[in-house]
């Protein structure tokens, strides 16, 4: 097996097959990782008290039998996995951990690993396809108001083909168009609307159900790294998962669904940023200053950001940029954060989720990141070897005199996304 190989996988264990979603391959792999000693622990996401799907919690599991508690996917979650690994698990420097993660979690982990705060070598990233998550409280309101169901009776959510489909305990499925829900203020988290990374190929293994036929209990699995390849190899040898090669049609179907989701996100992006892009400079500045002045300086955005890591933060009063005891804080507060993280933002939306003043931070960061990405040929959180663009000056640049080389490069590609 090698990088790039794809399979349709299914758990061999009956119980996992029953509890898990799409064949339970992820749960089986996590259990195998613990069983075989590849990792010391699994950082899973499970429902609080085993039944509350609107209050998911992270759980560091060391007992292989307990992995099954994390089976099945949850959509009303926005756990800050990267930050938790860094902050509370010592950046995985002492132990090996398997982390099932969404694309943004994987990207955040890779970005912070570049900054040497997490040891990527100790992590086994099992990526899960994602087309968006929902803010739990709003989701509950939506289920009551729009779907007319009791939120506690929901057993599964799914986002497919632009629709949010929920399944109830009695087997009923209700589907509603996402964009219409979002017009009413429900639906996905703000940043998820505009996210165009659905398949986590930056992780070690990317799992999902795209490409699997309706009704079939299988997981489409792509091997994305050598570490992933070795791991899957052993898993197959031990027999914890059964695999079969996917047909051409399955691969095309998966690609088609990915493209479809990307198109939807591009549409949302154009819609969401239309107002900001349309502003002239003065109006744009007025808009952002107005937003910044809502800030109550709670530092939540900084504390939630998976990429912020300075031990002595520039936002603290002793650094001389932002005066202490002032609310709203000096505008440097937000501009500093933007200057520090704008190039490496992974659009995970944690800052905005944490903000009590509801400043649309992800829009600001995305606006900047979209421009920087083509300039520096840099997509954040993809490759742990690729340095952040501002410190990645190459020797060959010494022979280029043009001061606007990056700006020219950025402008050349800017025509495409602006439509």
């Amino acid at each position: 097996m090698a990088k790039g190989d794809m399979y349709l996988a299914q758990a061999s264990d009956k119980e996992i097959l029953k509890q898990g979603e799409s064949g339970g391959a992820v749960t089986a792999l996590l259990k195998f990782a613990l069983d075989s000693g590849v990792v010391d622990a699994v950082l899973g996401v499970k429902k609080r008290d085993g039944n509350n799907r609107y209050d998911a919690v992270l759980d560091l599991i060391t007992d292989p039998e307990k992995v099954i508690d994390c089976a099945g996917s949850l959509h009303c979650v926005s756990l800050n996995i990267a930050r938790n690994v860094k902050e509370y698990l010592d950046g995985a420097k002492q132990m090996k951990i398997a982390v099932p993660c969404k694309p943004c979690d994987a990207r955040a982990i890779i970005e912070i690993a570049k900054r040497k705060q997490i040891n990527r070598d100790n992590l086994l990233l099992i990526g899960l396809n994602c087309t968006g998550t929902l803010p739990p409280v709003v989701a509950k309101e939506m289920l009551i108001g729009e779907y007319d169901v009791n939120p506690n009776e929901v057993v599964m959510e799914d986002i497919e083909g632009g629709e949010l489909i929920i399944s109830l305990a009695d087997g009923t499925k209700i589907a509603k168009v996402l964009l219409e829900l979002e017009k009413k203020g429900y639906g996905r988290r703000d940043n998820c609307r505009r996210c165009n990374v659905n398949i986590p190929t930056m992780a070690d293994i990317a799992c999902g159900k795209w490409g699997v036929k309706e009704g079939e209990k299988k997981t489409f699995t792509e091997v994305c790294s050598d570490k992933g390849a070795e791991f899957i190899d052993n898993a197959i040898k031990t027999g914890v998962i059964k695999v079969e090669p996917p047909g051409e049609d399955a691969i095309t179907e998966r690609k088609r669904k990915d493209r479809e989701a990307i198109e939807l996100s591009n549409k949302c992006e154009a819609e969401d940023l239309k107002e900001l892009r349309g502003f002239n400079l003065d109006d744009r500045l007025a808009y952002w200053l107005h937003m910044f002045d809502r800030c109550i300086k709670c530092f939540s955005c900084r504390d939630a950001c998976p990429i912020c890591y300075c031990k002595k933060c520039f936002l603290e009063p002793d650094r001389g940029y932002v005066k202490g005891g002032e609310v709203p804080p000096d505008r440097m507060f937000h501009l500093t954060r933007l200057a520090h993280d704008g190039d490496s933002c992974v659009n995970c939306g944690q800052c905005q989720d944490a903000c009590p003043a509801e400043i649309p931070l992800t829009r600001l960061y995305l606006m900047l990141n979209i421009k920087l990405s083509p300039m520096f040929d840099y997509v954040s959180g993809m490759d742990v070897e690729q340095k952040p663009p501002l410190i990645a000056a190459k020797d060959e640049e010494a022979s280029i005199d043009d001061i606007d080389i990056f700006l020219v490069k950025g402008e050349a590609s800017e025509v495409v996304p602006q439509q």
């Binding site: 005066k323 440097m332 501009l335 933007l338 704008g342 900047l368 640049e397 010494a398 005199d401 001061i403």
Partner: protein
């Protein structure tokens, strides 16, 4: 700071200049009695790579109308790659300023070696004229005096 002529807008420009090249060029321009507008206030850095994006932001927020960064030509940095990093930061800053609504034309970077006194005075002339055309910076109204941070 000289007295401003009534009625005419005199921009305040902060120039971050590299000790090894642009600052020396400014020196040369001075000793050679070349004329350039007094609107620029130079702050000497050891390298253009020392210019933190936060310096630029802070300067704008404290009322500057323009910011100039002068560094050595690529390949001639005293610290090998300081100016290359500076170029990347400058490119990022241009886009950052645009994203939040500060005219990116208010930020300018130029490679000026120690022997290019003429280039220095020309650049300052040109940049000052440009900033005059753009008008006062967005935070010009802020009274900086007496509100200095510790």
């Amino acid at each position: 700071m000289g007295e401003e002529v009534k009625g005419e807008f005199e921009p305040r420009i902060i120039g971050f200049t590299c000790n090894w090249c642009t600052y020396a060029a400014a020196d040369l321009a001075g000793t050679a009695r070349m004329k350039y507008p007094p609107n620029i206030r130079l702050i000497r850095q050891m390298c253009s790579g020392r210019v933190d994006p936060l310096f630029v932001l802070k300067v704008f927020l404290r009322g500057a109308d323009g910011v100039f960064i002068g560094g050595c030509h690529p390949g001639e940095c005293h610290y090998m790659t300081g100016n290359l990093s500076a170029r990347r930061r400058y490119s990022m800053m241009k886009k950052l300023l645009e994203s939040v609504g500060i005219d990116p034309k208010r930020l300018r970077m130029e490679w000026i070696s120690a022997s290019e006194g003429i280039k220095f005075s020309d650049t300052v002339k040109e940049f000052t004229t440009q900033i005059k055309g753009l008008g006062p910076g967005p935070f010009r109204h802020i009274e900086t005096e007496g509100k200095e941070q510790k």
